[in-house]
Symmetry: C2
Subunit: 255 residues, 2 copies
Amino acid sequence: MTQRQVKAAVLLIGDELLSGRTQDVNLQTIAKFLAPLGVQVAEARVTADIPDEIIANVNELRAKYDYVFTTGGIGPTHDDKTADAMAAAFGVSIDVRDDARAILEAHYKGMSNLNEARLRMARIPDGATLIANPVSKAPGFQIGNVFVMAGVPSITRGMLEDVGHRLEGGIVVRSRTIRGKGVREGAIAQGLAELEAATNGVVSFGSYPWFAPPDSFGVHLVARSGDIAALDKAAADLMAMIRSCGADPEEVVES
Amino acid sequence: MTQRQVKAAVLLIGDELLSGRTQDVNLQTIAKFLAPLGVQVAEARVTADIPDEIIANVNELRAKYDYVFTTGGIGPTHDDKTADAMAAAFGVSIDVRDDARAILEAHYKGMSNLNEARLRMARIPDGATLIANPVSKAPGFQIGNVFVMAGVPSITRGMLEDVGHRLEGGIVVRSRTIRGKGVREGAIAQGLAELEAATNGVVSFGSYPWFAPPDSFGVHLVARSGDIAALDKAAADLMAMIRSCGADPEEVVES
């Protein structure tokens, strides 16, 4: 563990995420998995299944961040374009690889044939290492600082188990969330800005209003920091601020 | 309505989306709202509440696409940085504007004071037009081809009602979804690629496997096109393909 900030980007790949057909859940899964490892997601993008777009995005993001995590586009069908795009982005060749082929052969043996389409899932860029898929076997892969995973949420989650141990994390940013029912953002905005300014960048504060029709409302105030003592003080300050508005503060434990 | 493709980007702004605290739902809402108007979401990004990042992203996206839709960061607190970032991106000044102030005054009259923090929500870049907020009144705004909306999902949805009539849509891309229970992607991959190739780019096909533990699985096959006759033929072709795998195809009506 270094004591620097380690930052990552998430690249979600798939037409279905942009058409509105599919609600992405992988960004949240990945962010929550990485945070306790000391890796902060600093940016995310959603791109269509278009090779040039995938290539441009991954090359920009892998230069800018410590790690890049992609989901989607590594299945057996013609619209799965991620593996070839990654090879192109890194300027390496790609072909069916024996280690990936062996995994698929063991899985499809006796179930049905390992046909040409399924063999597409054994296409791995030169120099990449495999990422195990505990759900449906067809592997993901790591190439350089880029981790290429499947898009089906249960498989993405499963693949992360074979990703975590490869990461060198930095400062772990923790958060505390205080809920103020009946409190409006406008009432605490000035105080919140002053709290943040007083920490000199050690703690960042966020304010998230909520509305529960017909007439319930309030605010969640979130403090984030890599410094536990500063975070404890921040949480106490937020509770005091909610009380000063005449409400009972409640700490929310985020899952 | 023109008969060209009209494309848009969505820029989701907020630390909470990247930390995993909040599950975004606005991308799907916006994509589903725009599709029947003939506007396709071609790319999305999620950025932190960092002015330079917001400015760089919006300037890149507004040059690349017909429209840009942003959510988040226009509330009263110090972490709401979107309005000022938009003014900087367009190189215009920003201040409290009378029309926005009047909306807030009418709303906060008798409820509590329109304090300095709340007045931040009346800061509108020069040359922008307001977007009505039917939920909590504080307006969004349109500047150039960029529509700046709130991030609370009910408010985002409400603001879209004052956005739709400003858009000039193009070809409306429709989709048909056929479900094949018990069908594996590997069994239909080759046929699917051949179907797509035979349409010469008129129809695009997507394949989305699903798994329902412990042992149910299948595939959703999606055809997308701006040509209704071609889409009807594609749906019939997909049903025949599912039947050729020994399964009963089912059409799924997407909400």
